[in-house]
């Protein structure tokens, strides 16, 4: 069923709009097109509407609750039948009103009369309109007949932790909702197992209550609707922050009655942390080094060591380069210069706020000044992409649609978009002829500059009216004088405050790098319309991140040493429901699968083959090769937002590359792979060689079934006395095993 939603990504939103009656004609046409052309989608459409219609019917039209109990349902039907019959009888006695016979029924009247309060009076006046009356009762249900249920019924919930199995329990405990302002409060009070507690709980317990996941919506509502609520603490002690992560996430499990998966075994965790921090899988040696470290605190030591390694700087810089300028080539953009700048920043422990300032205000030649590449890549089209990119990647908000109209979900107006855009009004890429050492050659450099222009930015509203927007961000207005360099002013505004958007956005992205999902879905859509899964934790982390001086490595350390990050990726039956890809807020009850990025995959393959770069020259070559290899999976989208798509994860292109791409060949063939060559040349036990392959590729010991297979293969070698032939066969076998492992989903997923 879910394939349909993946096939038509907009379908589920359209169906929701249909159910909530906010669908426009364009949307209806789109549904129609999908449903007409694809029988599977048609099927889904009807089944989905069946849910909607049954809920509507059972909860709104018929009785209070759809009941599983057949008996009860039959009774309902019996009562309905008696009613029908009595009206049929009644109708037979009454003179017939002419309106029925003419067929001119003003149906809208009956729709309104279907409200419980008026159904009795309508009964009197329309006594003759059998069918209509019948409908009135069908629509309002019996529940109109029982005065106890007339005011909004709210079903009281069972105690937390208890799996609700009986529908009688839920329907029996009808209480008026006068005293329960929000579902969150109610659940909180139940969690305390003190149903008599006043809805507003004492402050001292507030901290403890306010973090559940399942009630994320209610929770955040609470935070926004109670301005007096204390903001999350700014913590500075590493251990304390890790403890807060553990507690908050655990509270979420309790609230949702989810059992977390057990702790991951050491192999699994070690592979994970290498992929996340170093951007590649560990070598067999590195793995055993970690496993044989018997002193306490080995996780911490490994994380610290990786954080200080050049590889962390490299992989972090790679990820952000992709986020900031995309992977597609752009002749004015020097990706490697940006990458170098970012790598340098992380090596030097530069605060994130400084990086953001650099990205926003950089000037000069992008080939020499790395951060300048960010805006150079997006200044096209009146800096509209720049505005959208700054908002999305650095501020975690999606305002691109406000370019043309008011944001549909929250209060971002078109003016706000253009006010942010106005900060880029002066930015301009200019061509400058440059003299090279060779006097005969002249080169042109493209420099990012700020032109001395002032005044507002002009934009057009939907009605065609021209409007002006002055540079303004977050309520701070900046002079539009031409002597003021606006980008520098914006850089200052962005880093102001205890919990600015750049911190929230960075924390959310970083968290999602390690867990596969951030606190919000999608990660770059933070705002009141999209409450985070763990609002308090999110706030604590971002405020603490600011308090730490935007220390990137410390933020990473907090996450990597937390308990949720240590969990296995194997879901239990008890936490299988925690599947954020279905759109639920994540509970982080097990590690979610993360497909390897093209860069992680490339690095890992090169590392397996034993050709991983060591010197900086090697690195430059490695990067260039990687860039061109990755490009085969990337396609830029020709849209206003400089978007691009990659054909990497789980596609046929990737599968083909893994099956018979040249890189795979190089990884496993003894001619190019030092690893394979050394295995063959080594004089140890053959079984050991196969085991080493497993450790090197999957970072784990082979399973019993695999060992049986290995033994069978080795058995074929037994009869061979000719050493050359034996070697050839062994090489073939090892290559086969490597090929099979590389093509397993276990390998291409970070778990």
């Amino acid at each position: 069923m879910k394939e349909i939603l993946q096939k038509y990504p907009r379908f589920s939103r359209l169906l929701d709009q249909l159910c909530e009656q906010s669908l426009d004609q364009k949307g209806a046409d789109e549904i129609s097109r999908i449903v007409k052309n694809d029988p599977a989608a048609r099927d889904y459409y009807i089944r989905y509407l069946d849910i909607h219609s049954t809920l509507h019917w059972d909860l709104a039209i018929s009785d209070a609750n759809p009941t599983e109990n057949k008996q009860e349902q039959l009774q309902n039907n019996t009562r309905l039948k008696q009613l029908v019959e009595s009206f049929v009888a009644e109708a037979a006695l009454e003179p017939i009103n002419s309106s029925l016979t003419t067929g001119e029924l003003d149906t809208s009247e009956f729709v309104s009369s279907s409200r419980p309060s008026s159904s009795y009076s309508s009964r009197k006046t329309a006594g003759t309109l059998v069918a209509a009356l019948l409908l009135t009762f069908m629509v309002s249900g019996f529940w109109a007949l029982s005065p106890a249920k007339q005011h909004d019924p709210v079903v009281k919930q069972n105690q937390p932790g208890e799996v609700v199995t009986s529908d009688i329990a839920t329907s029996d405990e009808l209480v008026s909702n006068d005293s329960s302002p929000s579902p969150g409060d109610k659940q909180n009070s139940e969690r305390m197992a003190e149903p008599d507690l006043p809805p507003k709980l004492p402050d001292i317990k507030w901290e403890q209550q306010s973090n559940p996941i399942s009630t994320a919506q209610a929770d955040s509502k609470k935070e926004t609707s109670e301005p007096g609520s204390p903001s999350a603490p700014q913590l500075i002690d590493d251990r304390q922050i890790v403890e807060v992560i553990n507690q908050r996430i655990k509270q979420g499990w309790i609230d949702q009655s989810i059992t977390p998966s057990p702790v991951a075994d050491d192999h699994e965790w070690c592979r994970r942390v290498y992929l996340d921090l170093a951007g590649r899988i560990p070598t067999a040696t590195e793995l055993s080094h970690f496993l044989n470290d018997e002193r306490t605190g080995r996780e911490r030591r490994l994380v610290d060591r990786l954080l200080e390694s050049p590889e962390f700087a490299m992989s972090w810089a790679t990820r952000w380069t992709n986020l900031l300028v995309g992977r597609s080539p752009n002749k004015h953009v020097d990706r490697l210069a940006l990458l170098k700048y970012l790598r340098h920043s992380i090596t030097e422990n530069a605060p994130w706020s400084l990086v953001v300032s650099d990205l926003i205000s950089a000037q000069g030649d992008p080939k020499k000044n790395g951060p300048a590449n960010f805006l150079v890549a997006h200044l096209n089209n009146q800096a509209v992409p720049a505005t959208a990119f700054v908002a999305r990647t650095l501020l975690g908000t999606q305002i691109q649609c406000a370019q043309c109209h008011r944001h549909p979900f929250y209060e971002t107006t078109q003016r706000q978009f253009w006010e942010l855009n106005s900060f880029f009004k002066q930015a301009k890429v200019v061509a400058a002829p440059q003299m090279t050492t060779d006097a005969n050659q002249q080169q042109t450099a493209y420099l990012l500059t700020d032109q001395p222009v002032g005044g507002p930015t002009y934009y057009e509203t939907r009605s065609g009216l021209m409007q002006v927007a002055y540079p303004r961000f977050n309520g701070h207005k900046v002079s539009d004088d031409k002597t003021v360099i606006r980008r520098q002013e914006l850089a200052k505004l962005l880093v102001e405050g205890d919990d600015p958007l750049i911190a929230q956005s960075f924390v959310n992205r970083t968290w999602s790098h390690f867990f596969g999902y951030g606190f919000t879905l999608p990660i770059d859509d933070i705002g009141p319309h999209n409450p985070p899964s763990h609002p308090k934790l999110f706030e604590t982390l971002s405020r603490s991140f600011v308090a730490s001086g935007y220390d990137i490595k410390r933020l990473v350390r907090w996450i990597c040493l937390s308990r949720p990050y240590r969990l296995s990726s194997h879901p239990l039956p008890e936490n299988r429901q925690d599947t954020p890809q279905w759109g639920d807020p994540p509970a982080f009850s097990h590690m979610y699968f993360k497909p390897l990025s093209p860069e992680q995959l490339y690095n890992s393959l090169v590392e397996i083959s034993g050709n991983y770069p060591h010197s900086s020259d090697d690195w430059n070559r490695h990067l260039e090769n990687r860039e061109s290899w990755v490009l085969q999976f990337v396609e830029s989208l020709d849209n206003d937002e400089n978007g691009e798509s990659n054909h990497f994860q789980g596609t046929i292109t990737q599968a083909l590359m893994m099956m018979n791409g040249e890189l795979i060949n190089r990884t496993i063939s003894p001619d190019s792979s030092r690893f394979t060559a050394s295995l063959i040349g080594h004089t140890g036990s053959d079984l050991k060689k196969f085991e080493t392959v497993c450790l090197a590729i999957l970072s784990r010991e082979p399973k019993p079934g695999e060992i049986v297979l290995f033994r069978k293969m080795i058995h074929q070698l037994k009869g061979l006395n000719n050493p050359v032939e034996r070697r050839r066969l062994l090489a073939g076998q090892l290559e086969d095993v490597m090929w099979a492992y590389l093509n397993s989903s276990e390998f291409i997923i970070n778990h």
């Binding site: 939603l5 009807i46 509407l49 059972d58 629509v139 399942s214 919506q217 759109g583």
Partner: protein, 189 residues
């Protein structure tokens, strides 16, 4: 439409034979839900679907004598409903027509098939409602209370409309997944 004046002539305690028989009423009651889905899938809007259902019911009651006992009741009713949908669409041609004719035709055909499992699906759905997280169940119950829309619910809860829409969509999708699983499990056992 001339059936009712006949009834007028009877005096005293009405005879059952003068109205539709018990069997007819049984079938009428038992199939309301299916017809509602049938209509809703084609008009897309619950309020309008109720309106069309009312019109359909009026016709059913006025034409009950046309129905031959022993023949397929639901097929007869579907025909009436289809006709009412058509009439309704013609009447509202300019204002609220959503879907094109071809859409209506293909959907009508498919919905008849799925409607056959209506009762099993309803039972599965009520099981699934009980499997929801308490907060989700409450949200969905509040949403489908009479007269409540997603929008008014959002106002009541003080939450942004779109976030409520998102939550409701997520819960409905979860319910659908669950219903299909339940039905598959029933089919296996």
């Amino acid at each position: 439409m001339t059936d009712f004046p006949d009834d007028k002539t009877t005096t005293g305690t009405p005879e059952r034979s003068d109205g539709p028989g018990a069997e007819f009423i049984d079938q009428f009651v038992a199939t309301q839900r299916r017809i509602y889905l049938f209509i809703l899938a084609q008009v897309g809007n619950p309020d309008l679907a109720e309106e069309v259902l009312q019109n359909t019911n009026v016709v059913i009651w006025s034409k009950w004598k046309d129905f031959e006992p022993g023949t397929n009741y639901i097929a007869w009713v579907y025909r009436i409903a289809s006709f009412e949908i058509m009439k309704f669409r013609q009447k509202n041609k300019r204002s609220r027509v959503y879907f094109d004719d071809e859409f209506i035709k293909t959907v009508a055909k498919s919905v008849e098939q799925i409607g056959e499992k209506s009762e099993a699906r309803r039972v599965a759905l009520s099981k699934c409602l009980n499997k929801l997280k308490p907060a989700d169940r409450e949200l969905i119950q509040q949403r489908y209370e009479p007269g409540v829309s997603g929008k008014s619910l959002a106002e009541k809860l003080g939450r942004p409309v779109n976030s409520v829409y998102q939550s409701l969509g997520r819960i409905r999708r979860a319910l659908l997944e669950c219903v299909e699983r339940e039905l598959a499990a029933v089919a296996r056992s």
